[in-house]
């Protein structure tokens, strides 16, 4: 039974004629399409007509173009394929659309004679909307062609033409590669830096160091250093030997008290550090240089056994390694002989007593007073005697501050020596009568100290060093 379906909108009239699925049931859906007609009043007088192929193509074209209008993403047409029966393209003017329908009669071969130009219908947006709505109503109608369903599919990313042409997109990476190549070419001509291993500074300065001590008074040490350098070059004690050479020029500590203090200090430290070491078969003797603050600045073996056993002694560890190793040491040092005995004892002795006698023995420091005059009357008597004898010789002094001296007298009243207490006194001692008053050498009898002050105003003050006796 033939049925007709009509979808009517203001600008579009879609009429379908077909056959029922069940000829006996008038309500059964239309299953077979015989003819489809599309009238577009207002746009064209022509009637678009065709069979199922035309309708399918119309539905596809309308769906794709509608989606393109909504998203702005054009649906790419397969290149090389024949143009579809129905196609919609955007017009030149905005909101104008071109419905292009190929009107080649079915069943005829296309040739130059019977080819017809495609029908081009210009639609406004509203007209296109009506066409689309008619198609949508057909698709949504389950009573007409139930096999025709809406096929909606978002356009795949791969099918979307990039918004920028390939040349523009490739420009940035190409520019980067070109810049890299240019930089590589430019750097090719720059010679690679040559590596020259720098020679350690100490290596260069050592020969000069070892040649200089020949003129030094301690020739024995210099010979030892020379023999050691030739015999055991590169051995462990060599740097220590250098260290001691370095110390040859250093001024010696002459103060006996300081030396005694250093002696006990170093002995104690060596003893502690050596406590757990293996005991040697014989005495190990080393000559060491010790600074005023107790650092062992260098050492050298004094006998052959000491050379062999040096690693068993704490000396290598305790030796102070200065930062600037090649610099000659300018600080005052004391030299000791350290002996490590098989019994586990460490004996440290000064190499020599401080022999440098003061140039002016009397003006130098006075040794500690061993035997003091204790008689109060005698002290008062000595005080006045000293006062008188100084005053008798006193001449006006060119001083701007008080000169303070410590003067030592024997019990008999002879001046043994004097010692300046402040700096001005040391400078101007020769202007005072004190040097001329010394009459006695160092005596062993009872002695007494007095403080003598020459004030800047010329006043002489003399009083006992330990205060007036009771």
């Amino acid at each position: 039974m033939t049925v007709q379906r009509q979808y009517t909108l203001p600008h579009c009239n879609l009429v379908l004629e077909g056959l029922n699925a069940d000829a006996n049931d008038p309500l059964s859906p239309m299953a077979v399409l015989m003819n489809a007609e599309c009238h577009l009043p207002g746009a064209t007088d022509a009637t678009l007509a065709g069979g199922r192929e035309f309708l399918d193509s119309l539905v596809t074209a309308v769906s794709r173009y509608g989606q393109q209008l909504l998203s702005g993403v054009p649906y790419p047409r397969a290149t090389g394929a024949a143009p579809p029966l129905v196609e919609i393209k955007p017009g030149d003017l905005p909101y104008h659309h071109h419905l292009i329908v190929q009107q080649q009669p079915l069943g005829e071969r296309v040739n130059d004679v019977n080819a017809l130009p495609p029908l081009d219908i210009q639609l406004t947006t509203v007209q296109f909307y009506d066409l689309m709505e008619a198609v949508d109503q057909l698709l949504a109608d389950s009573q007409t062609l139930p096999d025709m369903k809406a096929q909606f599919q978002a356009v795949s990313r791969r099918l979307v033409r990039p918004t920028e042409p390939i040349a523009k997109r490739a420009a940035a990476p190409a520019l980067g590669a070109a810049a890299l190549a240019a930089a590589g070419l430019a750097l090719f001509f720059v010679p690679p830096p040559k590596f020259e291993p720098s020679r350690p500074e100490s290596e260069a300065s050592t020969p000069a160091q070892t040649s200089t001590p020949s003129g030094e008074p301690n020739t024995q040490a210099a010979e030892a250093a020379g023999s050691e350098d030739t015999g055991t070059a590169g051995d462990d004690p060599a740097p220590a030997g250098d260290n001691l050479d370095r110390l040859e020029g250093a001024p010696a500590i002459t103060d006996a008290a300081t030396i005694a203090l250093l002696q006990s200090d170093v002995t104690q430290r060596l003893q502690e550090a050596w406590a757990n070491a293996p005991r040697p078969s014989g005495d190990l003797a080393y000559r060491m240089a010790v600074s005023e603050n107790g650092d062992i600045l260098g050492y050298r073996y004094e006998n052959d056994l000491a050379l062999e056993e040096v690693d068993n002694t704490p000396l290598p560890e305790l030796t102070f390694v200065p930062v600037a190793g090649a610099e000659p040491v300018q600080e005052r040092v004391a030299q000791f002989i350290a002996t490590f005995t098989p019994d586990g004892e460490v004996v440290v002795e000064p190499t020599e007593a401080p022999t440098e006698a003061p140039t002016e023995a009397n003006a130098a420091e006075l040794p500690r007073l061993e035997q003091k005059v204790t008689d109060g009357d005698r002290i008062r008597e000595l005080n006045s005697t000293l006062y008188d004898s100084i005053l008798a010789e006193l001449e006006p002094l060119s001083t701007s501050e008080a000169l303070r001296f410590r003067v030592r007298l024997t019990e008999a009243g002879d001046v043994v020596g004097y010692e300046p207490v402040n700096a001005a006194a040391g400078l101007l001692a020769s202007e005072t009568p004190l040097p001329g008053l010394i009459t006695a050498a160092d005596s062993t009898g009872d002695q007494a100290d007095f403080q003598v002050v020459f004030t800047e105003s010329g006043v002489l003050e003399v009083n006992p060093w330990d205060g007036w006796p009771q």
Partner: protein, 201 residues
Amino acid sequence: MPVDSPPAPQLPMVLDTLTNPGLPSDECPRRARIQLDLLLLAIEALDLGGSEAMLATSRELALEGLVKGRVHLWLLRGTNPMRRYSQRRPLDIEEAKALVIIICALARRLTVLVRQLLVGYQQLADKQLSPEHHFRLADYLSRFRSHFRARMNPHRAGVIAYSTDEKLDELALGLLQELLLCAGVLGPQRLWNSLFDGEVS
């Protein structure tokens, strides 16, 4: 058997007509978020009570579970990166579906007006006349411009592109055309699929 919690809320049936597009993630792409918000903006420019109508439509279509109220709608629209107070939260697929349904329902309600405006514009354009000669159209365009400028961040590159009145009018007319295409029987499906053009693999 007693249950501790209420049953999981069923998604509204109306959303079933929209198929998941097969995105790599559950979040809407950037273009979709911009598009949905701009369509809602155009509806507001067309209809003075547009924002109330959006909430009413969401209640009518039982979409309250997804669009929970005025503030939530504002948050959803704030996922548009062009907005002045843009939200960093993602827009879920289901929330986007709800917005699509609401847009299409309102567009259908406004079909007559949209058709009038488009026909009017077409006639003016054919006579080389500016849209100002159509009173209702000029009203829509000026309202859209002011809405857009009030809500979009003028420092965003996407907004700078619409700095002139002409550009904004062009955008507004394009949205008018899209609203018309959404108004049809299969409008929701067409709009929904168009949101993901070029985004699916």
